[in-house]
């Protein structure tokens, strides 16, 4: 953690200090109360967000406020637009042919969907972890060094320092320090996923989007990655899609429940995780979290 605070202090994103996040720690005694992790400070806000593929709406009318430093989980059945929401937050939807996003997304003061937004900088501020671990077909070292260099960190010592720090943060350093030049694809699935997380946090993002980060892993690796995500909570604003309700209960500060309605994905209920999982307001949410539907 001490290592990270050093990294947070160094201004590699060129952000103003107001925009950058200070690590927020969660008071353990107040777990899962009304504002579970911290004083709620809105960081990512969506307003009437819609995502269309060609003419078909995948997600409609989502207004959601994610608090800085908190871990929010998106739950709901497949096909109700959770991944579309995630991908619109860092404008990865730009890469999907015929995909259109309308509405408003704000990241701090940045208007994400504006034409003027520099998506390269946006994606540096908002890292993403995918369901399938996807390290590049390069060495372990290069997997982290290549994005850093592309983002203008050329000093060898600095690159090596950030790489070591990131790998330590994800608990991978001791496992790979003697074989940094070996191919990343030779690592196990769980190690690859942690490498991908290290690759994302090496760029010192403010938010992390995770799309079912544990679902392609065996139970043991999944547990390790889950512990890692818990460790990262507070440092980053985390938005995580998961189908594992038990996991969502264990790790989330806030939860949003999505469901397919009238031919498109909609957000049914959003609130503190405890409320969503224990005393949901909507009947649909109750049915889903109790395993009656979905």
């Amino acid at each position: 953690m001490a290592g990270h605070e050093m990294a947070a202090g160094k201004d590699i994103t060129g952000m103003s200090s107001q925009e950058s996040l200070s690590p927020v720690h969660r008071p353990s005694s107040q777990q899962h109360e009304a504002s579970p992790c911290c004083i709620p400070r809105p960081f990512i806000q969506t307003e009437d967000l819609n995502v269309y593929y060609k003419k078909n709406p995948a997600l409609e009318g989502v207004s959601l406020t994610l608090n800085a430093g908190c871990l929010t989980t998106l739950v709901g059945p497949s096909g109700c637009g959770k991944t579309s929401l995630l991908m619109s937050l860092n404008r990865l939807t730009d890469l999907i042919p015929f995909c259109r996003v309308t509405g408003k997304i704000r990241l701090g003061v940045l208007d994400v969907l504006s034409r003027q937004t520099d998506v390269i900088r946006l994606r540096r501020r908002v890292g993403m972890i995918f369901q399938k671990p996807n390290p590049f077909p390069l060495s372990i070292f290069k997997n982290l060094a290549f994005p850093l260099r592309e983002h203008g960190i050329k000093d060898r010592g600095e690159v090596a320092r950030i790489i070591e720090e990131s790998l330590r943060d994800v608990g991978l350093w001791d496992e790979v320090k003697d074989r940094l030049n070996e191919p990343a694809l030779g690592l196990s699935g769980g190690q690859q996923q942690r490498l991908c997380i290290a690759r994302a946090i090496a760029l010192n993002p403010e938010a992390l989007l995770m799309d079912e980060p544990c679902s392609a892993l065996d139970p043991l690796s999944s547990g390790i990655v889950e512990d890692l995500i818990l460790k990262l909570r507070g440092r980053y604003t985390i938005l995580i899609v998961t189908h594992n309700l038990a996991q969502a209960r264990r790790i989330a500060d806030y939860a949003a429940f999505f469901w397919m309605e009238k031919g498109s994905g909609r957000m049914i209920e959003y609130g503190p995780a405890l409320q969503i999982f224990e005393t949901p307001k909507e009947a649909l949410t109750t049915a889903y979290v109790n395993g009656v539907r979905g």
Partner: protein, 284 residues
Amino acid sequence: MYSALVNKKEWFSTLVVWMAAALVTAAFLWLLGDIIRYGFGQLSWQFLTTPPRNAGREGGIGPILVSTGLILFVCLVVAIPIGLGTAILLAEFTTEEKNFGRLIRRSLDVLAGVPSIVFGLFGSAFFCNILGFGFSILSGGLTLACMVLPILIRSTEVGLRSVPSDYRLSAAALGLSPIATLRQILLPAAIPGLLVGLILGSGRAIAETAALIFTSGYVDRMPTSFLDSGRALSIHIFDLSMNIPGGNKTAYSSALVLMVLILLMNGITSWLAMRWQQARISLV
């Protein structure tokens, strides 16, 4: 009874498949055997290095080898960058559905099917006359480049498309530019596809006759510039066997040299592709 019938059917279809394979192999072996039998005798270092004498009935194929190499060089120097650029455009910046990409792809498929004599006439009209390069190695190489491009582009495009799109998505999510992604991730992964295109393309180029007759010409002197006319190996073989009575012996030897060259090129390129992949797996 039933199983006997099935066995009989099996036996018959097995026989048909084997016969077909044997027929193809036999035709190739016959051709190869014939060429080696009649061509190997005259083969020597001297044959490979000296100029032809007495219209090619005697002497060697030195200048012809040099011309062939130069024509192939011009062809590849022009075709590789254009091919690579077009393949990148097709695979990375257009989608299957877009009309622009579809137009280029259709044109390439048509070009790939155009008989080489048509390329020859086009090259003669465009490079030799309109651009004024005359009968020259340059004209021949450029004509061959036009011929090889469709093959090179399509196989490189296939190579690029076969790179999992996960890489593109994760690279974009890390805020990497499309160009950086292309340079560091996609192109290295597509190199084997490019090499396959190169093998097929240069194989077609080095064995080409019709496209070269009207462009690079017949002259069998040692070329001193790209604007000199130069006789390619395949044209030499054609000329010896068609127009020169008593030229069969040297024609056979030249054909043997050409076959060995093509086999060598195939071998070296696949070896390179293999080495490249191994190097990438253990690369720093």
